[in-house]
Subunit: 123 residues, 2 copies
């Protein structure tokens, strides 16, 4: 899979609540920060799988908002994530930029999600 | 200046060929990679000022392509850079994501530009 394909597979799997496919994109020793500087700071694909499994209840939809930028060992992509069924309150959409860092096997070894309060829109 | 204001000042100054204003946004010990994984890998504000000064001849225009994401000590933003007068060939536009990392004084200490061949469009 090219890096572009990994990103597209990821966004489709988010919308399909297909956390096993998402976990398969990550290396065993991967890390995940969502958002960067925030509380969620995971290590290892098992913790990462649980994170996505827990998000199934949120009824997510991910949509690219521009082209995927591939540079060095990373791919960055701007997208909107819709949270149709948040744990509390109304549905919302967040404009995010994700960074995927890849290892030599083409697996994601570090995912960083960049977003802040100003990127949240209530629907 | 907020991080949002730094980003907007940067993009306006790019279009105005105002490299002194751009240099003023950087810390003395800042680094710059454009693109990440590529040849341009600068250290220090003097080298960075020369880089932007040299780009004046390219007649650049920068335009935000979505919201600025502020997270941790970084701001990431998707934008289009138009190169109206490239050294060779026709004008082009590149879809980029820049990452600015800030120090405690609010200066940019590390700039990374993420783009690849797939993000270049001839105009």
């Amino acid at each position: 899979m090219t890096r572009q394909e990994v990103v597209k597979t990821y966004l489709k799997a988010l919308g399909d609540a297909d956390y096993e496919t998402i976990a398969s994109l990550y290396a065993d020793n991967a890390t995940l920060e969502d958002p960067v500087g925030g509380d969620i700071n995971l290590s290892g694909v098992d913790a990462i799988r649980e994170f996505y499994k827990a998000s199934v209840a949120l009824d997510l939809e991910g949509k690219l908002l521009g082209s995927i930028r591939v540079a060095g060992d990373e791919a960055l992509f701007p997208f909107e994530i819709r949270i149709n069924k948040p744990a509390e309150g109304a549905p919302m959409a967040i404009e995010v930029i994700d960074s995927f860092r890849f290892n030599e096997e083409g697996k994601v070894v570090a995912m960083k999600a960049y977003w802040g309060p100003e990127n949240i829109k209530m629907l």
